[in-house]
Homo-oligomer: 474 residues x 2
C-alpha cells in the first residue's frame, strides 16, 4: 500500500485533473429536482445517490421512512477509522422569481464578483457538498487507492421538512453507528470576503405556538364579534399581548427574557471557547454581518462591540416573537375569538428543551394565563464540539492547511441545527464544515463557485487523510 | 284643510290599502344594485331616488361629490315644521355565500320564525327605510293631504364607504339646514323578540393604526431577517407588544385603559339618562345580547348584572385591539421588519376625538415608544340626544303609540355613528329609529318582514304628524 502522504498527493492531483467531470456530477445531481415538500423527483434522486454510492464499491440500500427514503450505505476500506458521512439529497422548492437560469438547470454562469458559478436549487444546500464528497471518493479510487477511512453513508431526503425520520433512524442503528470515530457533514464555509469559518457547535431550538381563545375567563366563545362590545366583552388579542409582555423585558433595553427558569443551564464559555473567542479579536467585525442583514440594528445596549458582542450573540439564549396574528389590521372592527403568537427560542449549552417548555408553561400559569394553550412545534437541544476531539481538530487543521485565505474557528454558530441526533444520541464527535464558497440558500440564484468546488474537494481529501493519520483510536 | 288627526287616519288607511304596492317599491329599490365600494349601479340608483322624490312634488337634484352623488331635494308643504330626512341609497357588496334567493332579487320569501320577508342586500340597511319613507309621503298624497311637515331630502351614496363627503356637504349648507326642526333617520328598530328599542345617542370612534418599524432604536431596517439573530438584533413585534401592554390594564381584570387622559371628559348619566336606565331595570337582560353574540363572555368583573352592567356597557369608553399582525404564524422564522396593530376606541360623551388621539401619542412618547407611528384611520365624536328635545319626544311617543309590543328607550346605543354631522354641525336634534323588524345587515339573507314594513310606515306617519302637532317652535 502506498504511504498515506503519497496517496494524498495523488488524490489531490486527481481532483485537479477531473474537475470538469466533477462539475458535471454536481450538475447531474442538481438537474434532478428533489423537492421534499412536494415529493417531486424524490424517488429518482434517491436512486441516483444509491447508484453513485454503489459505484464506489459500497453496499447501499434505500431505507423506507414515513415519507422519503434514507440512502444508507457502507464502504469498508479495511481502514482503522470510520466516518459517518451525513448529507441530504432533498431541496427546498424553487418557486421564487429572479433566477438568471432555470433553477434545475445547474448551468455554469459568470456571476458578478463571484466568477464562474454553478447556479441552481440545491447547489449550495447541499448537492454541491453531497456530490463533492462522492467525487472525492471517486478521485481517490481513480488515483489507485482505497479510501483512508471506512465510510458509513446516511443521506436523507427530509432535511428541508425538518428531518422527522432521522432521529429514529439513528437511534435504531446506535450500536453500529456509535463505533464510528465521528460524523462528518461538509459545508461550503468560505464567506464572500474569502474567510473560511468553522463552527464547533450549534444552538438548539424550541418553537412554540401560543393560542389565546375566548372562554371561561371572558371573550367571544364561538366566533369573532363586533368591536362595539369591547366595553363589556373581553378580547383574546389583548390578553395574549399582555401575556407576551410579561415574558420579555420591555422598553429599549435588551430583549431579556423574564420567564423564570427559561435560561436555566446557560453556561459561560469554557477556557477553550474563551481562547477561540479571543483569537477572533482582530478579525471579527459585527458590521460585516449587520450589513449582510440589510443594515439591521442591535439593541441600544450595543455599546458592546467586537468579540464582546459576538460572545453575547453566541452565548445568550433568545426568545424571538416570530409572529403574531389576531383579528383584522385591514377593514373590519372585531373582538377576535382567537389570537396566536409564535415563539422561537434558541437554546445554548447546557439548556434542555423540556425545561424550557416547562418554564414557559409555568410562567403563564404563575401569571394567571394558564388558559393560553402552548403547542410545541419543534424542539431539540444544542450541540457543542471541541478542538480537543481528534476529528474536530483534524478538520480544523486540514482547513488551515488547504484554505488559501484566513480560517476562523468559532466556538459555535448563532444558528440552530439538530446535531444532537449524532452528538448526543451517538456520543461521537461531529466534524462540520469545509472550504469553498457558495450562497443564497433558499433564494433565487443559489450557487457555488467552480473554484469553490475545487477547494471544497481538496479540503475533504485533506480532512479524510488527516483523520486517517490521527495518532490513536480515541 | 283637513284637521291633522283626520289626515293622519286617512294616511294610515292608505298605507294599509297600498301595502302591496309599497312592497313592490322596496323591491324596485333592492333590485337596482348600488354598491358604493365598486360603483356598480350607483348612477342608476341615484336616478331612481331623484325621480321618486320629484314624483312627490319636490325639487330634487344630484350633487356631485368626490365619488358618488348625494340626492338633495326639498318638498315645501307650506308647513310650520321642517324635517331633514337622511338616508343612504348605497349598499355593501353581496359576495357572501348562503343566500336563499339572489341578493339583488328582493324576492318575498317565508323565513323560519320570521314569516313573509323581503330578502335582499339593502332591504334592512337601508333601502327598506328609504323606500318606506317615500312610500309614506306617497300615501299621504294619495289620501288627499299635503305632508304635515316640509321635508329636506339628503340621501347619500357613500355611507358604506364611510360617508367621506357628507360632513362637508352638510357644513356647506349649514345656514339652510340648521333652520330645520330636526334630522330624521328611520330604522327598523324592533328586535326578534318583538321589542322596539330607540337610542337617543351613539358613541364616537377613533380608529388608529400603530406601526412599529426597525430603525434607530434597533431591529431590521430594510427587510425581515432570520430569527437566529434575535440574540442581538431587536424585534419590532416585541416592541409593539410591549408598547400595547402599557395601554391597557393586564390580567383577568377589566380592560381598563391606562392611557392618561384618554377617558378625559367621560361624564356619568344625566338625571334623565339615569331615569331611562332605571326604566330598563325589569326588561333589560344582558343574557339575550350575549347569546346573540355567540354566548360571548363578559370580563371577570361582571358580577355586575342587569342595568348596572348596561350602564358600564354604554357609559365607559373602550380601547379595543381590532387586530395585530407581524411576522409569520405559519412557517418561517424571522425578526419581522414591521409590526402593526389596529386600535378601535369608542368614545362616550363628552370625549373629544382630538384629545383621545393626542393622549395615545403622548402615552407612547412618555413610555419611550415615540418611534411607533400612529395613523388616524377614522375619527368622529359621540352624539347624544334627549327626550327633552321636542322631535325626539315626538318619535318616542309615536313609537309607543304605534308599536304593538314593548318599547325601550335607551339613553344611547353601544354602537358608534357619525351623527355629529347633524347634531354638532347643525345643532339640531336627531330623531333616529322606528318600528318594524329586519336583520342580517351585511350578511347573507338580509331581510325585513312584510309586516315590519307595514309597522315601519305606520310609525313614520305617526311621527310626522306628532312632529306637526308639537306645541310650539323650539
Amino acid at each position: 500500500m502506498m504511504p498515506l502522504d503519497l496517496q494524498l498527493s495523488k488524490a489531490l492531483a486527481q481532483v485537479e485533473n477531473d474537475l470538469d467531470a466533477h462539475v458535471c456530477e454536481v450538475q447531474r445531481f442538481v438537474r434532478q429536482p428533489s423537492v421534499s415538500a412536494t415529493g417531486e423527483g424524490i424517488p429518482e434522486m434517491a436512486d441516483i445517490v444509491r447508484s453513485k454510492i454503489q459505484s464506489l464499491g459500497a453496499d447501499c440500500e434505500l431505507v423506507s421512512t414515513g415519507r422519503h427514503p434514507i440512502v444508507y450505505g457502507r464502504l469498508d476500506a479495511g481502514a482503522e477509522r470510520t466516518v459517518v458521512f451525513y448529507e441530504l439529497y432533498d431541496v427546498q422548492p424553487a418557486t421564487e422569481s429572479g433566477w438568471v437560469v432555470p433553477p434545475f438547470s445547474g448551468e455554469v454562469v459568470e456571476l458578478p464578483d463571484r466568477g464562474r458559478c454553478i447556479v441552481g436549487r440545491g447547489t449550495f444546500n447541499s448537492k454541491g457538498c453531497l456530490a463533492g464528497f462522492l467525487n472525492c471518493l471517486d478521485a481517490i479510487r481513480a488515483s489507485g487507492s482505497r479510501p483512508p477511512v471506512n465510510v458509513i453513508f446516511i443521506v436523507e431526503g427530509e432535511e428541508e421538512i425538518g428531518s422527522p425520520s432521522l432521529p429514529g433512524f439513528v437511534r435504531d442503528r446506535r450500536e453500529e453507528l456509535q463505533k464510528a470515530d465521528c460524523v462528518f457533514q461538509p459545508y461550503f464555509g468560505e464567506n464572500a470576503a474569502g474567510t473560511t469559518i468553522l463552527y464547533l457547535g450549534f444552538k438548539g431550538m424550541v418553537c412554540l405556538e401560543l393560542t389565546c381563545t375566548g372562554g371561561e375567563w371572558g371573550g367571544p366563545v364561538t366566533r369573532d364579534i363586533h368591536a362595539m362590545h369591547a366595553a363589556w366583552i373581553a378580547n383574546p388579542a389583548w390578553r395574549l399581548v399582555q401575556a407576551l409582555a410579561t415574558m420579555q423585558s420591555s422598553g429599549d433595553a435588551a430583549e431579556t427574557t423574564t420567564v423564570a427558569g427559561l435560561a436555566r443551564g446557560v453556561r459561560p464559555p469554557t477556557p477553550e471557547e474563551k481562547m477561540l473567542l479571543d483569537a477572533l479579536t482582530t478579525s471579527f467585525d459585527e458590521r460585516v454581518i449587520l450589513e449582510e442583514q440589510g443594515n439591521a440594528r442591535c439593541f441600544k445596549w450595543s455599546e458592546l462591540e467586537g468579540v464582546d458582542l459576538l460572545e453575547k450573540y453566541l452565548y445568550e439564549p433568545s426568545l424571538n416573537l416570530n409572529g403574531i396574528a389576531a383579528g383584522y389590521t385591514g377593514a373590519g372592527a372585531v373582538i377576535p375569538r382567537e389570537a396566536r403568537a409564535r415563539l422561537d427560542i434558541r437554546l445554548v449549552p447546557d439548556m434542555e428543551p423540556d425545561e424550557v417548555i416547562e418554564s414557559v408553561r409555568s410562567h403563564l400559569k404563575a401569571n394567571d394565563y394558564g388558559d393560553i394553550r402552548v403547542d410545541v412545534l419543534q424542539s431539540y437541544p444544542p450541540s457543542q464540539g471541541s478542538v480537543s476531539q481528534g476529528p474536530v481538530d483534524a478538520l480544523v487543521r486540514s482547513a488551515k492547511d488547504y484554505a488559501p485565505g484566513p480560517v476562523q474557528v468559532w466556538p459555535r454558530s448563532a444558528g440552530a441545527a439538530p446535531h444532537y441526533v449524532f452528538t448526543r444520541q451517538l456520543g461521537i464527535p461531529l466534524a462540520f464544515g469545509g472550504l469553498g464558497h457558495g450562497g443564497r440558500s433558499h433564494s433565487a440564484n443559489e450557487y457555488i463557485t467552480v473554484e469553490g468546488l475545487r477547494r471544497h474537494e481538496r479540503g475533504i481529501i485533506g480532512f479524510l487523510y488527516a483523520l486517517a493519520s490521527m495518532s490513536q483510536k480515541e
